[in-house]
């Protein structure tokens, strides 16, 4: 590569990264600015003025943010636990057994995943309302299973398929039953896959806005996306608070992502991640 080409390449890379990352940089900078600096109406992209964590402390003490955070956590953990548990069993069943309808299950999983969320939200609202589960975190977690489970199953099938069936046979020759084979032999090997599936399910649930909007009314039961979106509808928008909230909402996802990065990219390659 000639020098000119090198320069061009790096210029393009810098431009691309700026476009991609500037909004996130700007969120962090804005969350640390003092109130006056935030609204000074001067163009300055460098961190200027004194930094302060005031927005963070105010967010945690004067708003329901911490409550929303806890609610989101409860819902995401419930939805993740439910879908990962059943998806692992299903992945094992689909790749280790021969039974009628097996292939149909494998292929219809992705079809489910294509359902318009708005289409599901209306009947889910009616169902959960009749069951007395509207305005309940448990009810919301059940609703989230409608989109976390298909993804979890799809990934579980892919992951289990990659584990040689000879291992099962060896275990069964040694006298292990099916459940014991899954628990003692297959699951330990599948741990990275299970972690990845959990992270995916968690992020999907953590991100959901529509179902939470439709199924939760009570202010103290709201999850982060709906609760924080409510701050914007207030008469005077406190952008510093919102940016601090943005940073805190992103943290769990970043942690999950760094745990499962390798698998996440594989999953993206498999076209399995919704956005």
């Amino acid at each position: 590569m000639s020098l000119n080409q090198r320069v061009l390449l790096w210029a393009l890379i810098v431009i691309t990264i700026s476009i991609v990352c500037f909004p996130l940089y700007w969120m962090i900078i804005s969350s640390l600015k003092q109130y006056g600096d935030l609204f000074s109406r001067t163009f300055d992209v460098l961190p200027s003025g004194a930094s302060t964590l005031q927005d963070y402390t105010e967010l945690l003490h004067k708003t329901l943010f911490a409550r929303y955070f806890l609610n989101s956590l409860v819902v995401a953990v419930l939805a993740t636990a439910g879908s990962v548990l059943t998806a692992v069993l299903a992945g094992f069943g689909v790749t280790r057994f021969e039974f009628p309808g097996r292939k149909l299950i494998a292929s219809s999983v992705l079809f489910t995943y294509m359902f318009p969320p708005i289409l599901l939200s209306i009947p889910l609202f009616v169902m959960l309302k009749n069951a007395g589960l509207v305005n309940s975190l448990f009810g919301l977690a059940l609703a989230h299973i409608s989109f976390t489970l298909p993804l979890a199953m799809w990934l579980a099938i892919i992951f289990f398929e990659a584990i040689p069936i000879d291992l099962d046979e060896a275990a069964m020759i040694d006298g292990a039953g099916r459940l014991r084979t899954l628990w003692a032999v297959i699951l330990p090997i599948a741990i990275p896959g299970v972690v990845a599936i959990s992270v995916f399910s968690f992020i999907l649930s953590w991100n959901d806005y529509l179902f939470a909007l439709v199924l939760i009314v009570d202010e103290t039961k709201k999850t982060l996306p709906v609760g924080v979106a409510g701050f914007v509808e207030a008469t005077s928008v406190e952008w510093g608070l919102l940016m601090a909230g943005g940073v805190l909402i992103t943290l769990p996802v970043l942690i999950g992502f760094s745990i499962a990065q390798r698998w996440l990219i594989e999953g993206l390659g498999a076209g399995a991640v919704k956005g």
Partner: protein, 311 residues
């Protein structure tokens, strides 16, 4: 880890069949799948059917009464201007976001496919918009696009392109464009990663052969890279097309379908009917229309793809 195969489980199944596993196994296998199946039926298949049924009803949310009214919700929907403008807005939004995502995605993938120092880091960074939760991405963009204090307006004023702040999301002529830009920013990394993965398995001999034949960079892209990317692009256009047409949260959070309905798409129309006017039947009819349009698109697309009509 293996890449996704079109029919997961098939390889093992033939093995299992060859080895003559016992018939009683099939019941056990079904038992393993049963919990997932029950949940999927309860929370996906049943709601789908129930939605179609609801779309034929007049539903009173508060008194919980239903009355069968046949296709009245549909006839009312199809004769309303709202429906047709939402369909137009949604199609515009989907086509524009998917094509721009494709351009940005392929562009960045080609860029990152070059060898340079720190490539792994840059590839990680490019995923950022995709990893950041939707609500966060929206909040940042609303802040950056703010008419009074937004950094974008301040920048444009600084370089003298404008003299006062522009209401990017509040003006009827600009709102759709702004919404499209934000969505492209959020979702193009998905395509970058997919195209990048595909680029890396193109045999290097192909490039060498083209180079020997005197093909320039553009020609190499047109005759070597593009044909190799064809199946990836077709799949991505399909999946992205569906999901952008279904998109609710990003548009709703940015503009709530406004100003004056200029960014109102079908999912937003369905939401408004169901949860703001409390007409669940009418909302279900609107969302059923989305489903049928997508199913028709899916059927057409797969057929066209098979016949090679889609390039």
């Amino acid at each position: 880890m293996q890449r996704a195969t079109p029919n997961p489980g098939v390889r093992q199944s033939t093995l299992a069949a060859e080895r003559g596993w016992r018939i009683s196994d099939s019941l056990k296998g079904f038992l393993f799948v049963a919990p997932s199946l029950v949940l999927l039926i309860a929370f996906a298949a049943y709601p789908l059917a129930s939605s179609l049924w609801l779309s034929l009803q007049e539903v009173q949310v508060f008194s919980n009464q239903q009355e069968f009214i046949g296709l009245k919700n549909y006839s009312e929907l199809l004769s309303s201007n709202d429906f047709w403008s939402s369909l137009w807005n949604g199609s515009l939004f989907s086509v524009a976001t998917v094509s721009l995502q494709l351009l940005a995605g392929i562009g960045t993938a080609l860029l990152l496919n070059n060898a340079f120092r720190g490539r792994a880091l840059v590839r990680g960074l490019i995923l950022f918009p995709f990893v950041v939760p939707t609500i966060v991405a929206i909040l940042i963009w609303k802040w950056m696009l703010n008419d009074l204090y937004g950094i974008i307006n301040l920048f444009l004023m600084k370089i003298g392109m404008i003299h006062e702040g522009i209401a990017w999301l509040g003006s009827p002529d600009l709102a759709m464009g702004s919404v499209i830009v934000v969505n492209v920013w959020m979702f193009f990394p998905f395509i970058t990663i997919q195209v990048l993965a595909r680029l890396q398995v193109i045999p290097i001999d192909l490039f060498e052969a083209a180079y020997m034949d005197g093909a320039g960079a553009l020609q190499r892209f047109r005759y070597v890279v593009l044909p190799e990317l064809r199946s990836t692009i077709l799949l991505v256009v399909f999946i992205r097309g569906l999901w952008m047409f279904n998109k609710f949260d990003t548009i709703w959070l940015l503009t709530q379908g406004g100003p004056v309905g200029r960014t109102q798409t079908l999912p937003i129309l369905a939401y408004l009917r169901a949860f703001q006017e409390y007409r669940l039947g009418a909302g279900a009819a609107a969302s059923a229309c989305i489903f049928m349009l997508l199913a028709a698109f899916g059927a057409w697309y797969t057929r066209a793809m098979r016949r090679g009509m889609v390039p």
